[in-house]
């Protein structure tokens, strides 16, 4: 009998703590499938963030490190410098990566640190209950922008891929979305390419995954997908923002 679907070996066989309908589970699975397909799980070290994915260290079968809030790229740098032939990735949310960890993110990228960053953008701080994130859209209601994000008071959302694409050390930056099957397949291709670039020693790679947060958005999972399409895609266009190409 032909196996058409199985649990990725790089994904731990444990119950995840994520909310129903949350896309973190999809993102985890895609990373694990890629580690399996590239055959690198045994040579990989992952770095988990502070945020909803704080327990990611329980969900991957490779060695894992739990970093302080925002510091995953610095921790990954330390690991990669000691083990230059290993595969090192961080898995970070928007608050972790683009607020408290902006300096670590930007400088890991500009150093061309040969690591892969999996970046979950769901426009809010999920774990602490839905506060404004650096990616919260103008006018979006969160618990700390109860009247909607006023850009005059709270500033503008950061487009991370566009920003990092300007840096010479960034080898690959792509934004994908986890809102439908087609986009999920595209997301996997992007994640795989990012890891392949790392394995080829090309430098810093980042994949931004537009994700949903039904619980904190106060929407049913299907409505959350729709909200992502209607609100996030116009502000955060999908696409490849940096690709230094095949042979470098």
């Amino acid at each position: 009998m032909k196996t058409v679907f199985e649990h990725p070996k790089a994904l731990s066989d444990v119950l995840m703590h994520y909310c129903p309908g949350c896309t973190h589970g999809i993102a985890h699975r895609l990373v694990a499938e890629v580690l399996d397909e590239l055959g690198v799980c045994g040579n990989t070290v992952g770095v988990a963030p502070v945020g909803c994915a704080v327990f990611a260290y329980n969900y991957f079968e490779c060695d894992m490190i739990e970093a302080a809030h925002g510091r995953a790229p610095a921790v990954a740098t330390g690991v990669k410098r000691v083990l230059p032939n290993s595969v090192v990735f961080t898995y970070q949310g928007d608050g972790d990566l683009a607020a408290i960890g902006t300096a670590e993110t930007v400088h890991a990228a500009t150093r061309g640190e040969n690591i892969t960053v999996i970046f979950i953008n769901n426009t809010n701080y999920g774990m602490t209950g839905g506060q404004m994130a650096p990616t919260t859209l103008p006018g979006q209601v969160t618990t700390t922008t109860p009247y909607g994000r006023d850009v005059k008071a709270n500033g503008h959302p950061i487009r991370v891929c566009e920003m990092l694409a300007t840096l010479s050390g960034t080898a690959y930056a792509e934004r994908v979305a986890l809102n439908n099957v087609k986009n999920v397949m595209a997301a996997k291709r992007a994640i795989k390419k990012a890891f392949e670039y790392q394995i080829a020693g090309k430098g810093f790679s980042i994949v931004e995954l537009l994700s949903t947060c039904p619980t904190n958005w106060g929407l049913a999972p299907t409505d959350a997908m729709k909200w992502l399409e209607e609100n996030m895609l116009p502000y955060y266009p999908l696409g490849v923002y940096k690709d230094i190409g095949g042979d470098k």
């Binding site: 490779c62 739990e66 510091r71 921790v75």
Partner: protein, 353 residues
């Protein structure tokens, strides 16, 4: 023994780290420890080491955490304001049971303070600095030669007890040149790093380096286990040096730079017939309590000398349970006490005995 060479404390520390097998350094420039970073930037490429200037002290200490997780001997250095920034990471390193060496070449504070030698980070080094129940082993050299030997010890102790070790110096020691010998470093027998996240290679179960334990009973057990290790450190690793203390009425006590100045004061006091001696803690944590308790039986008074408003003095009082008067002589803000000031204070005490 190798030839003696004349080197600055900061540079001696860097060379000793190399001899101790350290090949990874993550730092950020700050006076007065910059020579250490610059020395390693020059030397590391020649010995296959990695020197990386981070974007901040915060990033540097987290790079240390990553390198230590991967099983490397790793070091960072800074001076007071930079150590404040690193304190978050130091707490995580302690909470993740990782070995690492952190150097603080202290300067005057608080805030930006100044750049002259100070000892006002004693509390930060020995009582926390970062959050949570944790300890650092804190080593306080008082000569360039001792910087070398304590740097060796720092790496070994960190690996042996799986905890961060701080070398607490000051601008005077960092800038001072003295002749030193660099002996070959021989490791103690150290445990294998079976806990390291250095990739499974498909040969073992995965390792996790982590300081998060969401269930309070699990967290408490982890902390209690760690404190059992700390108790072992306290029982085995406390160190002090004494000078003319056997018949001393007044025990002057100081560490690092001030212990050298105090030694001049002891000589001057002895020359004028006052029985003074010097007790110098070499480990600030664990604090060498037993030595203080022993001398409290024969001495009449203690005089603590610090470049601070009085921090170590609290440990001196606690160690002897306030069974003898403990006096204080200190300067702060980067001012260095003179032997004359210490001598005058000791004479005052002698007159009151």
């Amino acid at each position: 023994m190798a030839d003696k060479v004349l080197v600055k404390g900061n540079e001696a520390l860097g060379e000793a780290a190399i001899k101790a097998g350290c090949r990874f350094f993550f730092g950020y420039p700050i006076t007065p420890q910059t020579e250490l970073s610059e020395y390693l930037a020059k030397r590391f490429p020649k010995v296959g080491g990695t020197f990386l200037q981070a974007e901040s002290e915060v990033a540097a200490i987290n790079m240390v955490l990553g390198a230590a997780s991967a099983g490397a001997r790793v070091m960072t250095s800074s001076s007071s304001p930079g150590i404040s920034l690193k304190s978050e990471g130091i707490s995580y390193i302690a909470g993740s049971d990782l070995p690492a060496v952190i150097v603080n070449i202290q300067r005057g504070g608080p805030g930006l303070g100044g750049i002259q030698p100070s000892q006002a980070d004693y509390f930060q080094a020995t009582k926390g600095g970062g959050h949570g129940d944790y300890r650092l082993i804190v080593l306080a050299p008082n000569s360039v030669q001792e910087i070398v030997s304590l740097t060796f010890d720092a790496f070994d102790l960190a690996d042996l007890y799986r905890m961060p070790v701080m070398i607490l110096g000051d601008g005077m020691l960092g800038q001072m040149m003295e002749p030193v010998e660099f002996p070959e470093h021989s490791d103690r027998v150290l445990p294998e790093k079976t806990w390291a996240t250095d990739t499974t290679q498909g040969k073992r179960k995965k390792n996790i380096v982590n300081s998060l334990y969401i269930k309070p009973d699990v967290l408490e057990k982890i902390v209690l286990d760690r404190y059992a290790r700390y108790a072992e450190v306290e029982a085995k690793e406390a160190r002090a040096e004494t000078y003319l203390t056997d018949d001393a009425d007044i025990i002057i006590t100081a560490y690092g730079a001030t212990s050298r100045i105090s030694r001049n004061a002891v000589d001057a006091l002895r020359a004028s017939g006052i029985k003074a001696g010097l007790l110098r803690p070499i480990t600030l944590w664990p604090f060498p309590k037993a030595e203080y308790q022993r001398l409290a039986k024969t001495a009449k008074a203690f005089l603590t000398v610090e470049m601070s408003m009085g921090q170590m003095i609290e440990d001196v009082k606690l160690s002897i349970d306030c069974s003898r008067p403990v006096h204080f002589c200190g300067r702060t803000g980067g001012m260095i006490p003179t032997p004359g000031e210490i001598e005058a204070k000791a004479r005052e005490i002698a007159a009151s005995l």
